[in-house]
Subunit: 97 residues, 4 copies
Amino acid sequence: MHLDRDQKEALRKRLRRAEGQVAAVGRMIEEDKYCVDVLMQVRAAMAALGKVGQIVLENHLDTCVSAAFQADDDAERQAKIRELMDVFAQYGNFGTR
Amino acid sequence: MHLDRDQKEALRKRLRRAEGQVAAVGRMIEEDKYCVDVLMQVRAAMAALGKVGQIVLENHLDTCVSAAFQADDDAERQAKIRELMDVFAQYGNFGTR
Amino acid sequence: MHLDRDQKEALRKRLRRAEGQVAAVGRMIEEDKYCVDVLMQVRAAMAALGKVGQIVLENHLDTCVSAAFQADDDAERQAKIRELMDVFAQYGNFGTR
Amino acid sequence: MHLDRDQKEALRKRLRRAEGQVAAVGRMIEEDKYCVDVLMQVRAAMAALGKVGQIVLENHLDTCVSAAFQADDDAERQAKIRELMDVFAQYGNFGTR
């Protein structure tokens, strides 16, 4: 990854928030909270992780993908496109996984 | 939540796995791993949390929803249906969020 | 499905809207519209279908699932729970498909 | 969009398949098929549309995004990145919509 110091700190902060959300799920399970509340908390933790993913993806487009597309190497460009499509399939709602 | 001892322990175990996956994201960021690998690790952590959500939902259907549907209380039954639809909308790919 | 006349007409209307959204995708492709606009139109068509799915699911909970849970037949109740979990896995973002 | 004749025909074929899947939903509703079967058919139609989206996205990366990244125009490059992030957010499971 090609993050400058501030970007890395922002990402750490996001990840700590996600870790906090996950820890909250654990507490709710121990305290036998209502199932639907636990489900919504799990979803909040997933969303916090999703935000981390978005930041990493945007940085990837801005650095690795840009560099590969600007270089005169079509094989490398196609490799980057395939990678992006894999990421899309993993995260995406193409309903084709 | 209405989990017996074994169910609760199984859920704890799942959550610890999710926490481990999240921690792995942190290490990868610190070690400047390749973006796409980090993205796939974030997705794995989300999937581990998703599994926790599935267990909680199945238990909810088996306990709270069953009890509400078996009781002779239509208002309570409708409330449970609305809750399930909210959970579906939050987790679901109805594409309508 | 157990839809009264009005519910069925409402569902038909939703489905016609989805069909219209899908047809719009076709036109945009023929007219060589900008890719991102086509992608957003495809997403709108998926969302329209998602809405059809939500209506069917809510009706299912209100009729088939309720009847099964109210009957004194645990095997039938468990079968309905498994079905709901399958639907969740297909539509859901448990990230475990 | 920048599709050659074969690519366009392949996309038309995909879209016709999606239209067929949507029409099948309509028939199942008229024939009062079992709700869960209808839900799975709706999901199949969404997946067929998702496949159309994937083809459009891959073509977009290969043409518009590549061209923008190769041109010496940072504003245009950033605009394309923002667009891709929007598409990701619409389709993606970042859980942040």
